[in-house]
Point group: C2
Chain length 313, copies 2
């Protein structure tokens, strides 16, 4: 099979042996695989793949057709349309995924949409709903609302009946982000738009002090991105007085059983809203596998709104 | 009625009008009321009573007999032995408490034990079990294990089947704390005794960096004391990589419905272990109400192991 391959911090398309599914696993003929920020970190050598994953093939999400089933893999049939998160290796013509980690692709979704859905919607739903417990009527702040996870979180918050505010640095993207259901504000002075019940932190430590000040009693901060800085001063006195909660979260290092739970949560609480059009996977651009380097360059350049998807069709 | 009363940051015993129970409330003839760190803060003017509470009568926990019942207060009968946490006003001959906030005193407990149980066991159980979700086989670290909440947390962790480690600064108290079921260590270099799954932080920010380093994946820090300092550097990168959780917690400002839930949790999961002797309320000293100033001085002097209780009998 051919796969996007990292060699000396550069991307190539190289031949690899076809993978073979083990017990409970499914071989997938990948049709579409989205790019994510973590792929950029991996390319730069800062986010190595965990054990058990092809170390040089990037890609954390995919959609495709079931091509073969391993021993006791009975959840799907050959030819079924499936999608899911993986710990690496998605940007290839073939990939192996445990059947419990996969979801059926809703009919309403195209291949490129399905290939760009799993990572950002799983990350956003797990952080703001499963872990932070966002409830209807609460006020959600999304820091970094123009990114893939940001737009997913805004849509999820909106569908859930929360009030959603999002910070967006690039003025050209603000109208587009607002269309997903958020009041869009500048990052500077965001605290004046609170109080917030849940803050999805995609930027990092620079927001920490103002986040604490802007949270309501029993407020929660989900930290899933620290591109803007990792270390900041934490005032435990405010944490105590308002009974606040801060947690960090990543998907990639989780064991199969935890990833499978996120797939069940998406099937139950998120995928139905794609069928009725209330949730969308915005697509900024698609590239054939051969142009993987161009796809990454587009991602890194910023200024886009929506996912960048590799197509293997 | 007579009550411990704060005037110009000094303690007196003064006459007050007898309080009258409203709907759902119970008038309690207080027999015993424990002292807590928060009382010391209130005496120094740093922790004012919340609205609806006698502003000048300290005391966050009490035990006593039901003396009268307000309209529709039917959970207890006149003469019943009850105990509970209150937002203030416990160190008096009479006090008003909503019936949903009260618990029946187990037969095995004396008045002084019952008067010193509610605040520390509610705080500890709510923080490490209800909120941090401590499970059998996990490793609990208690920072400040010699205090009232510390010894309660050690005992609860031990009964739950967790491995318990506790830091104790005063060498003279270490053997006594160890007898509650903890491995007792010096505060310096505590991280070498990890990894920990749950850390109960009764000291504050100075431990923050080492706490993060010493936690296992999915570890939790419950911050309920910041006497050692409120502000410290938080490394969100570690929070993310290990998916850690930090929360701050206090009991006093919670509304009735939340306090009532903590009473139900204690009735179900904590009080049965006093009947069989697996949990104990250690008593350092008792004082009659007239000697309230001496009782506070004893508390402030430190070096004790166990509760200091005011007796109104």
């Amino acid at each position: 099979m051919r796969a996007a391959t990292i060699r000396d911090r550069e991307l190539h398309v190289l031949e690899h042996p076809d993978p073979e599914p083990g017990a409970g696993e499914v071989l997938i003929r990948v049709t579409a695989a989205g790019l994510n920020g973590a792929d950029m970190h991996q390319l730069r050598g800062r986010y190595p793949a965990p054990p058990g994953v092809p170390p040089d093939i990037p890609g954390l999400e995919l959609a495709g057709e079931v091509a073969a089933r391993g021993h006791r893999a009975e959840r799907f049939s050959v030819g079924d349309r499936v999608m899911g998160i993986v710990a690496g290796g998605a940007q290839a013509e073939l990939a192996i995924v445990h059947e419990r980690q996969l979801m059926a692709v809703p009919e309403a979704l195209s291949w490129e949409e399905a290939g760009g859905l799993p990572e950002v919607f799983t990350t956003a739903h797990d952080a703001i709903v499963t872990q932070a417990g966002l409830k209807p009527g609460e006020h959600l702040l999304v820091h970094g609302g123009a990114g893939g996870v940001g737009t997913a979180a805004i849509q999820l918050g909106h569908v859930l009946g929360a009030k959603v505010t999002a910070t967006v640095r690039n003025p050209e993207l603000r109208d587009g982000v607002a269309a997903f259901g958020a009041e869009v504000i500048e990052p500077e002075g965001f605290g004046a738009h609170g109080p917030f019940d849940v803050i999805l932190e995609l930027v990092g430590a620079p927001n920490l002090a103002e986040n604490l000040a802007a949270l309501a009693t029993l407020g929660r901060i989900a930290v899933i991105g620290i591109g803007g800085g990792a270390k900041g001063e934490l005032n435990l006195g405010i944490m105590l007085a308002k009974r606040l909660r801060i947690f960090g979260s990543t998907l990639r290092p989780r064991p199969l059983e935890e990833k499978a739970l996120t797939a069940r949560a998406l099937e139950r609480s998120v995928l139905p809203f794609f069928a009725d059009g209330r949730l969308k996977v915005p697509i900024a651009a698609t590239y054939p596998l051969d142009q993987v380097a161009e796809a990454y360059a587009h991602f890194t350049a910023g200024g886009k709104l929506g996912k960048i998807i590799l197509l293997m069709l």
